[in-house]
């Protein structure tokens, strides 16, 4: 986005926070909740002009009303601190709860911390752990770390240092210094993992590299490093230090994604479906055959039936030199109780790059041109290949959007996929051979 380049600089574009603030303001006035959040942050920090916490709060409030969880949490933070708005802790709590309902991992973390501390809500460690777990399952690093602490200390959950080590490894691998430090401690003490001072030393060194020198946390890590070093002889220490240097040199710069980043998500929807017209029979009693009206045969009449169905969706995203390639697999299969001729299986695979168009009149748009392959199997089989493109409005910042988005998308996909596949009635009308019975009326689900 132009505003990001104005703020953070880019080849050939000077850093211009004043203009960036104006660009964000224009976009916010056009209704972009991302811009409302960004403008609020600039107003809070006094970047590109004087600080104005009251106006920042107003923009966050506007974004919050439009379901933007980042704005909801930012406004909650101001309400808790009484910055730019009168302090109102209960209003802040309500905003955080609303963001939790919308599925925000950041909000789940925030509410979990309130339950852990017993601030604004009754102290409830089990509830805190439940919220941390929900956030961790969405990849929230701090929540993953805090869940690990809960398992390590037996807070709100039975102590399980193996699970704690697994969670620290998950968060530590993503760059969480606290998780790296605690994983080092577990290695040093042999709790939950086999005792390994060299591994402990490596994790302490990685944590140390991320902390401001001289900070309290850095000093704590230094002490732990010394403890780990004291358990190794000189050769072991030299080898560990060399390995640490090697790891740190290979680590990605801040802001870069790790080269082996692998994103796969999906959903499976399965159940029962009743249809009044399971075989896609025509409504009319007379149909056409070579231009003449003929009675519809008994076998062509609409039949109701029940089927079991399953819809599987898998999405993989890969970063290819700054371009995001999205590959989507969709599969649908049903098996009818009686109308077995109408059992069908539909498989689709599409792939294409996500191209960000930035702000447009319709909002922040991303376009995905893609190539698609479709396989359909029923009493006849058809293959179809096509090129297509889809545009979508960029999702709100954070984990935002709509709480069970995945569920609603799955349901939508299922109903779209499973439209009764149209068949020509010619065959049933006159007992002629099937004339591309499926390909005539059938198209891949979109």
């Amino acid at each position: 986005m132009l505003t990001d380049r104005l703020l953070y600089g880019d080849a050939g574009v000077p850093v211009d926070p004043v203009r960036a603030r104006e660009e964000y303001r224009l976009a916010a006035e056009r209704g972009s909740t991302e811009a409302m959040y960004a403008l609020g942050q600039l107003l809070l920090a006094g970047v590109g002009g004087p600080a104005d916490p009251a106006e920042a709060a107003a923009w966050f409030r506007h974004g919050a009303e439009f379901n933007d969880v980042a704005c909801q949490l930012a406004l909650a933070d101001l309400l808790l601190r009484g910055v730019g708005v009168p302090q109102d802790e209960m209003a802040a709590l309500a905003l955080i709860r609303r963001a939790v309902e919308l599925g925000s991992a950041d909000a789940q973390l925030a509410l979990g911390q309130l339950y852990e501390l017993g601030r604004l809500v009754p102290q409830d460690s089990a509830q805190a752990v439940s919220l941390y777990r929900q956030a961790a399952e969405q990849g929230q690093m701090e929540a993953t770390f805090r869940l690990g602490l809960a398992y390590m200390d037996g807070m709100g959950v039975a102590p399980d240092t193996e699970e704690a080590a697994r969670l620290f490894l998950a968060a530590g691998s993503e760059g969480h210094a606290g998780a790296q430090y605690h994983l080092g401690l577990l290695y040093l003490q042999g709790r939950g993992v086999e005792r390994d001072p060299e591994a402990a030393y490596l994790w302490f060194r990685i944590a140390q590299s991320q902390l401001p020198p001289g900070s309290t946390n850095a000093l704590e890590v230094e002490r732990a490093l010394a403890d780990a070093a004291s358990t190794m002889d000189e050769a072991e220490l030299a080898a560990a230090e060399a390995r640490a240097e090697e790891l740190l040199a290979a680590a990605p710069e801040p802001g870069q994604s790790a080269p082996d980043e692998f994103g796969l998500s999906g959903s499976l929807f399965a159940g029962l479906c009743w249809q009044s017209n399971a075989n896609g029979g025509p409504s009319a009693s007379l149909v056409q055959f070579r231009g003449n009206l003929v009675p519809l045969s008994d076998s062509g009449q609409a039949e109701s039936d029940v089927n079991v169905f399953a819809v599987l969706g898998l999405t993989h995203t890969a970063d290819l030199d700054g371009t995001t390639l999205e590959t989507v697999f969709s599969g649908y299969a049903n098996r009818q109780r009686e109308a077995t001729l109408d059992d069908n299986t539909l498989l689709e695979l599409s792939t294409g790059p996500l191209i960000e168009l930035g702000q447009t009149a319709l909002g922040d748009l991303t376009v995905r041109p893609y190539a698609i392959g479709t396989y359909l199997a029923s009493e006849d089989t058809a293959y179809m290949w096509a090129g297509a493109a889809a545009a979508s409005r960029r999702r709100p910042r954070s984990t935002g959007g709509w709480a069970p988005t995945a569920a609603s998308n799955t349901a939508n996909e299922a109903s779209a996929t499973a439209r009764p596949i149209r068949r020509t009635a010619t065959r049933t009308a006159a007992n002629t051979p099937s004339i591309s019975a499926w390909t005539t009326g059938c198209r891949p689900a979109r």
Binding site: G271, P404, A406, S408, R422
Partner: protein
């Protein structure tokens, strides 16, 4: 494209175009679709294993399809033109952190200039959705 109308409601607009160039004109087609979906979240009537808003939604779509040429077996003098309507309602209830129960009721009608392709279907779906 999703638009939040209020903290509890969101509307989704879908537009699509589809063109198929097949070996015969009666299998080649152009299709255009516009769809709307509206979801409203309500507080759970009762909680299962996980807290979370329930979603109630309605959706509708209109799609027109024009084929390039007549199907000689059906009617050599008429090129098929279809208009498809879909209206439906959905309820989504979170069951656990990663699963939801989903119920869908849907009506699907196709109006065609050829009686062979005029059809209607009412369907009811009940199932579990698992996200991973």
């Amino acid at each position: 494209m999703d638009y939040g109308l209020s903290p509890r409601s969101v509307i989704t607009l879908g537009l699509s175009g589809y063109w198929a160039d097949a070996r015969t004109p009666d299998e080649s087609l152009q299709s255009y679709m516009v769809g709307l979906r509206y979801f409203y979240s309500i507080d759970p009537l009762f909680e299962l294993w996980t807290p979370g808003a329930w979603l109630l939604g309605v959706n509708g779509s209109l799609e027109t399809t024009d084929y390039d040429g007549p199907n000689p077996v059906v009617n050599p003098g008429v090129t098929q033109q279809d208009v498809e309507w879909i209206v439906g309602a959905q309820a989504i209830v979170p069951v656990t952190d990663s699963t939801s129960a989903i119920a869908i009721l849907q009506r699907h009608d196709i109006d065609s200039n050829l009686p062979n392709f005029e059809t209607s279907n009412t369907s009811a779906w009940l199932g579990l959705s698992w996200h991973f």
